[in-house]
Every structure is written in structure tokens, then in C-alpha cells.
Symmetry: C2
Subunit: 290 residues, 2 copies
């Protein structure tokens, strides 16, 4: 009888549990959360079969563990699981938005567990908690796996199969590239959207709300994301975010200088390149979705 | 028998025609487009009742005219309508994204026509053409009217009633405030999204596409917008866009400096303010939608 333990029964943990339930990959799904109310809510919503009252006991019988907790709590939990199940570890997956800091913390506390498959589903939401969980959250979304030299190929294969079963498309890369690319595609856009929302209410006493069309609503959706979580993500991926900011900032300056100096032909050409890049991204996304 | 003439049968013109048809405000809707194929397409899609072969003739019998053409062509058309129907003008509405430049061009060519009601529906799309037209395009979206001192109150009232009948919520302000606020809520986000898309394919040979989640897709949707149209909008609203860029840029620098210097508590507080602003905007939008 195969058992899944989900540690952290929020949006991502609850969604993974629901997706696994839908495809019947596990006979039993336990949920554990340091916030017992959250675990109970996940149980009531039918996301898990039982609330694990004791973490060690649940770990002892699990075949697979999803660690879906804030990035700064991941390494300690993975270490604890490895210690509890020394020589007989379940396959352990995480969902941390930053990989370098998690892996460094884990290495600093001992050997890299061979059954740990670091991962990151690019499928969050500005919403949080099990109330927002959705069996389809990962469908057609990238899940980035960053296996380590020590990672057991069989564990990697199992993790890959489970993630694929959620409908996600699995991408494998190394941790530094992951961290740079998510700095670019996720962390920097959050920073930009936050900075935008902190300015948008200033002119004319907040009149902007009267002028907000669908473009602005989509552009700033991610600014609704949780401050504590994003403080953590941004600070754990600080160097990569700052590097991507520099690159984007140079691009921004180029646009603004052309506009400022009335070089409208060149501005239009640059807008054309940007539009083409956007259309390529959508096309590639849709091709991947199919 | 009341007749509407839509000049420019693209996304906005076609959508307005469809919305008017749905609420039965006009007995007949003519469409005119300098691109005859576009007018014929609107006819085939049932957006208009007839293609006007001759602009002057169509203007001669119209009770209302919607001028839905690029911003740099609006003033000349409004002037032409006023000349054709001297002393007996239909109510004329435009949909230009910038108001100051349109009104200045109009004033430079003669008196401000009393039956012209300048307007701007905040309901575009990155898509273009009558194929994308939708009777519900304006539903729950702001339409900004910027009446002039010369504007006939009865013409303003008619324009207000028609726009309201599309499902839009009408906001009245003056042209300078309109231009500043759309620079903030629409033009600057386009510039930022364009600059982002021009950078995003650089690192690691365009690997970003593999890492693009829903956040990035929403954040950059507006970067698919038409280059020729946006060159025009940005250049016609140059000063306001640059001023808003400076404001947002100062906010951005503040976020980046806190991140760079490891002031994570203050960073989290600033993220918290931004999140609150975003939640207020959504709440206000939803309240307005109701």
C-alpha cells in the first residue's frame, strides 16, 4: 500500500494531493501542517485522507513525501526525514521557489540525501491556503527539477512520473540556472509589479483606480502575493534577482531614452521586437500545452 | 430613424457597433473604413448594417458618429464632420487613447465643435481588427469622457447614455488628468512590459520560455500590442509617460536598494503596502463592477 505524506497543506501541497488523488497514484494521503487548522481544512476539503498528528510517525510509513513549506524551512525538514528513515528513505520532493539556498543549507547540515528530488512547480497563484487548492493547478505548467550528483536515478524517475501525472511538463536543469531563470521570469516581475503598485496610488489622490483597465489588472495581479513569502523568496535569491534587474533596467533605459529623445522610428522597431518575443513565448507555451 | 456611423471598423469600432445593436439604440448602423476590406469584414460579421462607400454622404445622414481611428487621424476627421454638417452636427465621439494632443490639433484647425464629446474606453485588447470585436468589450470598464468648455451638455448627455448602454462606467475628467492617469495605468505598463520582453530572451539563449508561469504570462500580455499603434500613443503622450516613469522608477529604486542592502524587514513592509494597494484596486474594481 503506497502512502504519500504532504507536509504543508497550503495551496501547492493541497493541489498536489488533489492531483495525485485524481490519478490514483497513492492508496493513502497523509497531511501534516505546523498549523493544525490548515491540515484540518485540507482534510475537510477532501484533499488528504488523514491529518498526521505526529510528523515522525507519518514520515516512518511514507513512500513519498512532498515538502510544501516556505523555502527557509525546507532544508531542515528534508534532513529530518533523512535522519528518521536512514537507509530506507521515501522519495522526497520539495516545491521551493529558490533552489541554491535550499541546497546549500542542506549540504551544510550533512550529505545530500539521494532520495531528495528538488523541484519547483511554476504554478503558484497570488492566492494562498488549501481553500485555493486545485487539482488542475499544475496542468500545462512547467515543473523544474534540479537533481543533484547524489540523486538516485530511480527517485528522480518516480518524482518525474508523479509531476507528469499532475499534467505538468517537467523540465530538468541545474540549481544556478533555475535560480537565474526564475529571478527573470518570476521574482523580478513581482518586484516590478510591487514597485508599480506602491507608486500607482500617489498621483491625483489615488484616481488611478478609476482608470484601471484589464491591462493594468493583469499586469499587477502578482502584486497581490503574500509579503512574508516574497520577502523570503527575494532575499534567498537576492544576487540573481539583482542581476536580472540590471539586465531589464538597461532595456528599460533604452526604451525611455528613445521616447525622451523623440526617436520614434527606433522606438517602434524596439516595440516590434518586444511584441515578437511575446508572441514567441505564447506560441511556445501553447505548443507545450498541446 | 436614428443612424449611427462608425468610422474605423476595427476592434473598438466593431465592439461599439455590436453593443449598440444589442441594446437597439440605433435603427441603422453604417460603417466606414479607409481599409474597405475591414469595413466589409465588419459587415459580414453583422457588426454594421451597411458599408458606407462615401464618407461625406454617410456623415450627411448620421445622428451619431463614433470616430474609432488612430489618435493622429482623429482631429482631421472630427473637423471634417463639423464642416460637412455645419450648424447641424451629429453627436461625435472619439475613442483616442490620448486626449491632449487630439484636442490641441483640433483647436489649431478652428473652433472646438460643440457636438464633439472626447472619450476613451479603457477596454482595449492586445488583439486588433473586427474579428476580435465583442459586444461585451466595454462591460464594467471605465470610459473616460473629457468634455470641453464648448461641449453642448445635450451632446455630452447623449454620449454618456450610449457609453453607459454598452455596460461601461462613465468617468468624467479633464484632458490633462486623463493623459496623466492613462500614462500611469496604461502607457507606462506597456513600456515596462515591452522592455521586459526585450530582455527576457537574452539570458541562457531564451530558456525563459521553459520557466514561464501564469504570472509572467499575465504580466506581459500587453506586450503583444501593436507596435505602430503604441509608437503613436507613447509619442503623443510623451511628457506624461516620462513623468510617470520617473515616479515609478523612484519606487523601483527604493525596492531594489532595500533588497541590495539586505534591509529585508523594510522590504517586506513595502511589499505589504504594495499588496494592500493591489487589493484595494481589485476591491474597488469589483465594487464598480456590481
Amino acid at each position: 500500500m503506497s502512502r504519500l505524506l504532504v507536509i504543508g497543506t497550503g495551496l501547492v501541497g493541497g493541489s498536489f494531493a488533489l492531483a495525485m488523488r485524481q490519478v490514483g497514484r497513492f492508496a493513502h494521503i497523509d497531511g501534516y501542517d505546523s498549523d493544525t487548522a490548515s491540515a484540518n481544512a485540507a482534510l475537510q476539503r477532501g484533499q488528504i485522507d488523514a491529518v498526521a498528528p505526529d510528523l515522525e510517525a507519518a514520515v516512518a510509513t511514507a513512500d513519498a513525501v512532498l515538502v510544501a513549506v516556505p523555502t527557509n524551512a525546507i532544508a531542515a525538514l528534508v534532513r529530518r526525514i533523512a535522519m528518521t528513515r536512514r537507509g530506507n528513505s521515501p522519495t522526497v520532493m520539495d516545491v521551493g521557489s529558490v533552489k541554491g539556498s535550499v541546497l546549500a543549507a542542506l549540504r551544510s547540515s550533512g550529505a545530500m540525501p539521494a532520495t531528495f528530488v528538488p523541484g519547483h512547480p511554476m504554478a503558484g497563484s497570488e492566492k494562498r491556503g488549501s481553500a485555493a487548492a486545485d487539482a488542475g493547478l499544475f496542468r500545462d505548467r512547467p515543473v523544474i527539477l534540479t537533481p543533484q550528483p547524489e540523486t538516485d536515478p530511480a527517485a528522480l524517475e518516480r518524482a518525474r512520473e508523479w509531476w507528469t501525472a499532475t499534467g505538468a511538463r517537467v523540465v530538468e536543469t541545474n540549481a544556478p540556472i533555475h535560480d537565474e531563470m526564475v529571478a527573470l521570469t518570476s521574482h523580478l516581475p513581482h518586484l516590478v509589479a510591487y514597485a508599480f503598485m506602491n507608486w500607482v496610488e500617489q498621483p491625483h489622490g489615488g484616481a488611478a483606480a478609476d482608470f484601471a483597465g484589464p491591462g493594468l489588472h493583469d499586469f499587477t495581479r502578482i502584486a497581490a502575493s503574500d509579503p512574508a513569502m516574497w520577502r523570503l523568496i527575494l532575499s534567498e535569491n537576492r544576487a540573481a534577482v539583482l542581476a536580472q534587474y540590471d539586465g531589464w533596467s538597461a532595456s528599460m533605459t533604452r526604451f525611455v531614452d528613445l521616447l525622451r529623445n523623440g526617436h520614434d522610428d527606433e522606438l517602434e522597431a524596439l516595440i516590434g521586437s518586444a511584441q515578437a518575443a511575446r508572441l514567441r513565448m505564447v506560441e511556445r507555451g501553447e505548443a507545450n500545452d498541446g
